[in-house]
Subunit: 119 residues, 2 copies
């Protein structure tokens, strides 16, 4: 039951697109990720994902439209929906999703990363 | 799949200790609450709760110790653990918890509130 300071924890995240677990509750995990550049198109079969922007902004690309998500905003991507985060500049994102979630969903490629342990 | 701007949504929250649902995913809800003053001591039988401070700061009181949670920080309170949020000044908090969670947990009193619908 210690508090978690996001800025402090983000300073431990060195690589882009490499999620670090910052907390767990009710079978869900809080993951901290730094985005930069375009990610890979994917969807998650079973898991909905919440993306909250802590610093900066990014574009959530869907097949039909794009949504710019800015600091202090979140977007929820339901399971089954194809998406690609794209960050022209570095952005710090807090994810909230089931512990079972793989970062690249139905894809396995160079972006696929196991999470860092709780930081 | 619209984004949610926290400042905008918080402007719709008028009463203290009255949670407003800002999002749902995986059986969990994102709730926005303004705290001011001391809440009621309680615990949740089954639900863990995450408290993320969007603006201001508050004290999470436990029976054995207190933790001050500041802007940009979160704390997770596991189920079964007695706690009382206490906010000397107004604070804006984003909660993440199962949809089943009652705000006063095992207590029913003047603080007990049904959530506002999705805002």
């Amino acid at each position: 039951m210690n508090k978690v300071n996001l800025a402090e924890k983000f300073s431990l995240v060195k690589d882009y697109w490499s999620p670090a677990i910052a907390g767990e509750l009710n079978g869900q995990q809080v993951k901290l990720v730094k985005f930069k550049g375009p990610f890979t198109w994917h969807h998650h079969e079973n898991e909905d994902e919440l993306f909250y922007v802590v610093k900066g902004s990014f574009i959530m690309e869907f097949r039909e439209r794009n949504v710019q998500v800015n600091e202090g905003e979140f977007i929820i991507v339901p399971h089954g929906v194809e998406h690609r985060p794209n960050a022209p500049e570095e952005v710090w994102v807090m994810l909230f999703e089931p512990a079972s979630t793989l970062n690249t969903g139905n894809q396995q490629n160079e972006f696929t990363k196991k999470e860092l342990d709780i930081i």
